[in-house]
Amino acid sequence: MERRQFLSLALGGGAATLAAAGRPAEAAPVRTSARIVIIGAGAAGTALANRLTRRLDGAQITIIDPRQQHLYQPGLSLVAAGLKPSSYVVSDTAQWLPSGVTWLPERVAAVDAEAKTVATEGGQMLPYDWLVVASGLLLDHDAIEGFSLDMVGENGLGALYAGPEHAARTWAAASKFIEEGGTALFTRPATEMKCAGAPLKHAFLIDDIARRAGSASKTNMVYLAPQGVLFSVPIVAEKVRMLIGERGIDTQFNQTLKSIDAGARRATFTSETGGETEMDYDYLQVIPPQRAPDFVRQSGLSWADRWVDQGWIEVDPATLRHRRYPEIFAVGDIAGVPKGKTAASVKWQVPVVEDHLVGAIEGREGSQTYNGYTSCPLITRVGRAMLVEFDYQNNLTPSFPGIIAPLEELWISWLMKEVALKATYNAMLRGRA
């Protein structure tokens, strides 16, 4: 239905379609006195809190997050390429939270899944009937020897994942490189990561901007990955291999960034066999290993036999419900599922968790399932992107089949990323999309 609505709008269907696109009548709220604790007020926690307040009447919902600022993380790639200011990704956490939800601005110290309590670092103890962990993940910058975040922006160092200010400083370093020329190294970690397309986008954008600036002849770009492929979905990996080849960006597989010597502008990479390679750079994009926050790992919520160095929460991939503690759900980056640490995944995960949580409160089984859907508007240059969408099975799942081809570089996909994505994201935060 929604696809057809979009198509008729896109093709000039106009007002009649809009009038018909009203929301279906919502079911009456479920009366309950359940205590629900949500850890994290990022994309997933905020969207879920907004949806739950509409579905439940009388629930005590507490959301725990010390951060005063909400970050629109999909915008960081644009900030790091000088296309948006850092303020583009920043808003107040408070503005998105519904009334009727208690916001506790503290850090979580531990979860006791047996006693069903959450302890904060400030010493509060919150009992819960239902717990949703949407804590997000930790960027482990300390794992890169010789690197610290205060270096970003100087000496050719970029770290666009680290936040809005660091993304802006990343652009300062990148634009200096574009001006002066030299060798740029683009990296990604060996762990699971947020938006696996972002390291590629950054390489494509810096290459494109350098070309437009007439610096192509004096710049040399290398993309280094710990993996053996450019993208986890084979059909996308092949397309990216062709694109990156056309652009003249060198690729090196099986290379993990281990350490840097910032003064000498030299990076050391390790391979699977333990061999080390040193490379000089004029610009280096550092994307560090990514892990679950300590409290998740220490509280015994993680998978015991998968991602043991990373600690993602042990959930059923279809329902996002904890496999050992049925009153716990995990949603967003922290969920231990094979795909999808993106806002697009959040958008599809949140209604599933909502369904199973509200169902459990009502004493029934939820019926919705998450198929691993995620999407990545893979920017290939300023003005063009490929809208890549896929699921757990590595199947492509295009939203607009026959109209927006998934493996085609299109202007409309760029428009979506540049223009429509943030508005859609904001609507999702409010639980309206």
Partner: protein, 122 residues
């Protein structure tokens, strides 16, 4: 994209142009449309003399609309990559052309010009 509602669409456009500019443009479009309806009702006929100038202005409107969208989205003509891009591009041009024609017709009817001020043609 999971679902698309009217409020999402409004939010999208506010994001594109900025809230102030978007609503100013909506107000301008509404005013021009009202003005157009007013002159149609007042004159009780379409003046083909006025329409000649309106039609001549259509290519100008098309070019202006395309230029506006390209600047707002940091895009270039060379970014058009597939059939759907051409459709979106043509739609933008068509909207610009029709909008301009209505604007010119309305202005000419309201302000008048020596060429079309004489009594309506038979």
């Amino acid at each position: 994209m999971k679902d698309l509602t009217f409020s999402t669409l409004v939010a999208v456009f506010e994001e594109v142009f900025g809230r102030g500019l978007f609503w100013m443009m909506v107000a301008a479009a509404a005013l021009i449309t009202l003005g157009y309806l007013y002159v149609l009702l007042r004159d009780r006929a379409v003046s083909w003399k006025k329409f000649l100038l309106a039609q001549l202005s259509m290519p100008v409107g098309a070019v202006l609309a395309v230029w506006f969208v390209m600047v707002m989205t940091e895009s270039h003509l060379s970014d058009l990559g597939g059939p759907v891009d051409i459709i979106v591009f043509l739609a933008v041009a068509a909207v610009g052309a029709v909008g301009m024609a209505i604007l010119v017709y309305t202005l000419e009817s309201l302000l008048g010009s020596t060429r079309t001020k004489r009594a309506p043609e038979g």
